[in-house]
């Protein structure tokens, strides 16, 4: 839809214009590619390089070594626990988010009509509040003598004490923080389902559940997959939830990386951990993105 491709037998002026158009794409992409080369690719390569440098050194690759990776894969090292926690949290968050967001996405795509804009606005806005501030609001809610505990106490005479500092509350925090990232791709996916297909299935006698399973779910799958991928990647790399709500009851992998970079002053070890995390994230993202037609998902209005 973006440009017409039929170019046979065009006047010379149109051909010249078409040539310009072919050059316009690469030319216009250049500034952004340059930014990402200097600000994304290069730093990641630096991390990769550092992961092969001597432990606790600050010089890049003076004496290349595999020592950092050996430390990580040493059976005595418990850093794999952090990896498992992060993957587990991310998995749980994605599952919960898929269920929690679906009705809202459905409403935004099909039911809310002229209210959809306002509701979208309400759902976008929390993204502009620093996640620390929002998560701290939950601390005030869940802490002993906080809004929940104190509220129950004054209403019913008994409280439930402190609900913070558990793995469960960390997942809660992730679900809270990343909800919009599941919701919006899902809404895009659901609005790709043509109403005629749903009606046709209904006319042919399909039940509500059958329509969902056979028509809506498969047709909206690209959006749901993007949402799941995005929320998985963000939760695997999340740190604020476990620090603010979890009170460091569980050390997630990003926290380990941060500790290595800051308190421990062991950049090469932190870099090696970061490389492993990047491998997990990168493999997932690249596999999924290869199978998606972004034009179709973003272009449909």
């Amino acid at each position: 839809m973006t440009t017409a491709d039929a170019s046979e037998a065009l006047p010379p002026r149109a051909i010249a214009r078409r040539r310009l158009r072919l050059r316009a794409g690469p030319l216009l992409s250049l500034p952004l590619l340059l930014l990402l080369a200097v600000g994304f690719l290069a730093p990641l390569l630096a991390v990769l390089g550092f992961s092969f440098s001597e432990p606790r050194s600050f010089a890049l690759l003076a004496h290349p070594t595999l020592e950092n990776y050996e430390t990580i894969f040493d059976p005595a090292n418990t850093v794999y626990m952090s990896f498992l926690w992060s993957l587990w949290f991310a998995f749980l968050s994605v599952c919960i988010l898929a269920v929690v967001s679906y009705p809202v996405a459905y409403g935004l795509a099909k039911l809310f009509g002229r209210w959809a804009n306002l509701i979208t606005l309400l759902m976008v806005f929390p993204l502009f509040i620093s996640e620390n501030v929002r998560l701290y609001g939950w601390v005030l809610f869940f802490i002993k003598n906080g809004v929940l505990d104190g509220g129950l106490r004054s209403l019913f005479g008994f409280g439930i004490g402190d609900l913070l500092f558990t793995p469960g509350i960390i997942v809660f925090g992730m679900v809270y923080t990343y909800l919009p990232f599941m919701l919006f791709p899902m809404t895009l996916g659901l609005s790709m389902v043509p109403q005629e297909a749903v009606e046709a299935a209904g006319d042919l006698g399909a039940s509500r559940l059958q329509i969902f399973r056979e028509v809506e779910l498969p047709l909206s799958l690209p959006g749901i997959i993007i949402g799941a991928l995005l929320t998985f990647v963000l939760s695997v790399g999340a740190i604020a939830e476990s620090k603010v709500l979890g009170g460091q009851a569980v050390i997630v992998i990003t926290h380990d990386i941060e500790i290595a970079f800051t308190y421990a002053q062991n950049w090469p070890l932190g870099a090696a951990l970061a490389v492993l995390l990047m491998l997990v994230v990168g493999a997932l993202v690249l596999t999924v993105l290869r199978h998606l037609d972004l034009d179709r998902i973003l272009g449909r209005r």
Binding site: P31, L32, L122, F141, A238, T254
Partner: protein, 269 residues
């Protein structure tokens, strides 16, 4: 139509569920507001004595005004640069057909699909290697790496609905490239560019993970709040948090009002 949009009961359930989600999203903001109105230093609910003391203190604090200045400076510069870069990027992303386009689209998405804390640490390492001293300037660059791709997506969505024939027609009528850009492309894409700018400003304003590792001795509002949450809580923390949230809300609502008014003015003509 019977089975299509679900029965009335299902509809109502979707509405109720959405209402609950909105409450869920804003509950911590309300908790922050409550805590900021508590007179005592430690938060005990229900609040025994309400007071505006912490608001008074926060608003009159010189430290806070410096923080806000730093955050606004970073956000404004990030907005200006990212709108220009993302406008070009969005045209390459959605407007023109060229050979490397699908690859380009995927590359643009990568920083968005990447843990920000790791990106922040990687940039810290990279700036260090280059020998760049960390300050609010390096933070601007760090924000750009994450925000420009997002703004590119926001503008691209508008570009997709852009009818390329408009540009062609203007060219056929003898307009120069520059005239076409000024008279056709920009006015049509304006709403997308404007919401892209809002996104850029607000995302930079609220960003924590990238700022944390790249600002050096300078401090933004989210960084300051985090430091105080970890050690040295006073009701000033939720107060500044609420102020920061309120500021973002005003900017977003103002932006939304401008778009609505402009749309009305255009359709009224």
């Amino acid at each position: 139509m019977a089975a299509t949009a679900g029965s009335g009961r299902n509809r109502r359930l979707v509405w109720i569920w959405t209402g609950l989600i909105v409450v869920f999203l804003y509950l911590p903001v309300v908790c922050g507001l409550l805590a900021s109105l508590n007179q005592g230093r430690y938060f005990i609910f229900p609040i025994a004595r309400w007071s505006l003391r912490w608001w008074d203190k926060t608003i009159n604090s010189i430290e806070v005004s410096i923080l806000i200045q730093t955050s606004i400076t970073i956000a404004l510069i990030v907005t200006a640069i990212s709108v220009v870069l993302a406008f070009c990027g969005a045209l390459a992303f959605a407007r023109y057909n060229w050979k490397g386009r699908t690859l380009f689209q995927r590359i643009v998405l990568l920083p968005i699909f990447f843990p920000q804390t790791v990106l922040g640490l990687a940039l810290l390492l990279w700036f260090n290697m280059l020998g760049l001293p960390l300050s609010w300037r390096t933070a601007i660059f760090a924000h750009l790496v994450w925000i420009v791709p997002i703004v590119t997506l926001v503008i691209s969505i508008q570009v997709y609905s852009f009818d390329a024939a408009l540009e062609e027609a203007a060219l056929d009528l003898g307009a120069s490239r520059w005239q076409v850009l000024k008279e056709v492309t920009l006015p049509v894409l304006w709403p997308g560019i404007f919401s892209g700018a809002l996104f850029a400003f607000l995302l930079s304003w609220g960003n924590f993970p990238l700022s944390l590792y790249t600002t050096g001795a300078d401090t933004t509002v989210p960084e300051f709040l985090y430091a105080k949450m970890v050690a040295g809580y006073t009701p000033g923390v939720p107060t500044l948090g609420t102020i920061s949230t309120g500021g973002a809300a005003l900017i977003m609502l103002g932006g939304y009002a401008i778009v609505l008014l402009a749309r009305r003015a255009r359709s009224g003509r």
